[in-house]
């Protein structure tokens, strides 16, 4: 998979919040084989005071995708993105503009506006969006080279609440990498996304808050791999009647 010109082999992106310890996080990253991790930059840590934790993240050898988690306005998101570029030395930014405090769903109007500003400023934007096609188009027009539709609200673990919409997105954006971001709860959710032809999955809580985060990270990676392989292998279409899998011809005639 290519994201903004970078070839990555793992189709799992991991968030880094809420783990029992940085050690468990590092082990989960290793167990999953993930190559990209997201890190939220809050204003309170942008002065470099988060450096202790960031050093541990850099030690994992993964590529860091800073995000604007928790930003509720265009200005806040743009400022946070600019601070993240300084702190992490990357043009990559996962763009979140939150529109609703209970569901944490994206403010798609603010998202498109912020994406336009950041793309013009040389950022490579990973927009966290809904599964709305028109919003997707506007983000692509704004300069985004990939889209990150939600599966369900952040941290809810509900899985893919609207697989049909993701299927439509896949059909509508055949050449744009699609990464399902948010809502994944179980490995089967991740596998389902991949079977739909989604290119990658970004998740955090499902691993961080699992009883055994390291085992769950591996399980997610396997689910993603299985789903991807299944998609590439062109699954059969469902039929509305039974078809015996054993040929009838050549059955023994018993009297």
């Amino acid at each position: 998979m290519r994201v903004y010109g970078t070839e990555v082999s793992s189709r799992l992106l991991l968030g880094t919040a809420q783990y029992p310890s940085p050690k468990v996080l590092a082990e989960a990253i290793t167990a999953s084989g993930c190559e990209i991790i997201t890190v939220s930059l809050r204003r309170e840590t942008a002065d470099g005071s988060g450096a202790g934790f960031w050093d541990l993240l850099r030690d994992t050898g993964t590529r860091i995708l800073p995000n604007t988690a928790g930003c509720h306005s265009v200005q806040e998101a743009v400022t946070t993105a600019q601070m993240a570029r300084e702190v992490f030395g990357t043009n990559w930014i996962k763009l979140e503009v939150i529109g609703h405090s209970d569901t944490l769903q994206p403010d798609v109007f603010g998202l498109v506006e912020a994406a336009r500003i950041l793309c013009a400023d040389g950022f490579e934007v990973f927009p966290y969006t809904t599964d709305d096609l028109v919003v997707g188009e506007k983000l692509v027009e704004a300069g985004c080279e990939l889209l990150m539709p939600w599966g369900a609200p952040i941290g809810s673990g509900q899985g893919l609440r609207n697989p049909d919409a993701l299927r439509a997105m896949r059909a509508h954006f055949p050449d744009i990498p699609l990464i399902v971001d948010a809502g994944i709860g179980r490995p089967s959710d991740a596998a389902q996304a991949m079977e739909l032809g989604i290119d990658a999955v970004l998740l955090n809580t499902a691993v961080a808050k699992a009883g055994d985060p390291v085992a769950m990270a591996r399980a997610m990676a396997l689910g993603i791999e299985a789903g991807r392989m299944g998609h590439m292998a062109e699954p059969m279409e469902p039929r509305d009647m039974a078809v015996p899998s054993t040929p009838l011809l050549g059955l023994a005639e018993l009297g």
Partner: protein, 322 residues
């Protein structure tokens, strides 16, 4: 003579363990009064290893189970357990907490009301960790200081430690490798209208809270964990979340006075467990993270074993360090 840098929680606990083993101990601290430079001032003072297991390794229980007994010899310890509750909407959080912990029994609304009458009718389900306890961190630091001084430990305030001390317990000021700061924030409320007698934990996916009674209508609330070295005052976001959570626990807290807020940096290693680290001639005890009062006794005993076996050349007394 054993010299210790830092008269905070770790340094004083080690001084006590060493003095009890008959060692002569001198402690240096740049502060001017017991604990005035110690992050332990802002601690909850919970002795709650079974609850902490929710997000910590098993070692927190094995090292912390005896902490309440250790402290009871030094300072008043309230042994009334911990009550964990959650709003009805977040019942899944309670199930998750129960799966991750041990040493509790499930309680219904009636039992919650009999344990804490102030919560009658407010919560219908909870977990009660009967063996847990709490103490008042500032009182404990003062009492611990007095206890070690009675045993002949010399504490020299206003003086940074000379180089080459035997034991370094300076928290984030320590040069030991692999430490990172984890910021914690707290507030102290005065609210005589609400009478709660034991530590409460409110589980919530976004704003988890613990509340520890300090007596005389005072309550300490806390719960934030931020990967940051900033020592600025508590942020409005954190404070409003803590206060909202307290209000969710009991609306009577709306009338509380916020008498103090604070923020401190808890030193932690990557696994969030404390360690003894030998660096040159100095042994370091550090990384107590959010478990200072809980794990200091066991770690201090290990440090004392290590130092005394070393000085008396009794290899059979040497224990593996954590």
């Amino acid at each position: 003579m054993i010299t210790i840098a830092g008269a905070g929680l770790a340094g004083l606990a080690c001084a006590l363990e060493l003095a009890r083993r008959g060692a002569q101990v001198r402690v240096f601290d740049p502060g001017h009064a017991p604990g005035d430079r110690s992050v332990a001032r802002y601690a909850g003072g919970m002795l709650a290893p079974w609850c902490e297991r929710e997000s910590a390794e098993e070692e927190v229980i094995t090292l912390g189970a005896q902490a309440a007994d250790w402290w009871a010899e030094v300072t008043p310890v309230t042994r009334r357990g911990t009550l964990v509750v959650t709003p009805p909407r977040d019942r899944a959080e309670l199930q998750r907490f129960a799966r991750r912990t041990a040493g509790f029994r499930g309680v219904d609304g009636d039992e919650i009301a009999s344990l804490e009458p102030a919560l009658a009718g407010r919560f219908s389900q909870g977990l009660f960790f009967e063996q847990e306890a709490h103490l008042d961190p500032r009182r404990a630091l003062r009492d611990l200081t007095a206890t070690v001084q009675e045993l002949g430990v010399e504490i020299i305030y206003g003086t940074p430690a000379p180089s080459g001390v035997t034991l370094d317990c300076t928290g984030m000021a320590s040069p030991v490798e692999g430490l990172r700061p984890v910021r914690g924030e707290m507030a102290i409320l005065h609210c005589p209208e609400v009478q709660i007698t034991r530590t409460l934990r409110l589980l919530h996916p976004r704003m988890p809270l613990y509340l520890v009674p300090r007596g005389d209508g005072h309550y300490m609330i806390g719960g934030t964990m931020i990967e940051s070295s900033s020592t600025r005052a508590i942020s409005l976001r954190s404070l409003s979340e803590l206060l909202s959570a307290a209000f969710a626990l009991h609306p009577g807290f709306a009338e509380a006075s916020v008498v103090e807020t604070g923020a401190g940096l808890r030193p932690a290693f990557a696994d969030n467990l404390p360690r003894l680290v030998q660096q040159g001639d100095t042994l370091h005890l550090n990384g107590l993270y959010r478990h200072g009062f809980l794990l200091a006794p066991a770690m201090a005993a290990r440090a004392a074993d290590h130092l005394i076996s070393e000085t008396s050349h009794e290899p059979d007394r040497q224990r593996a360090t954590a």
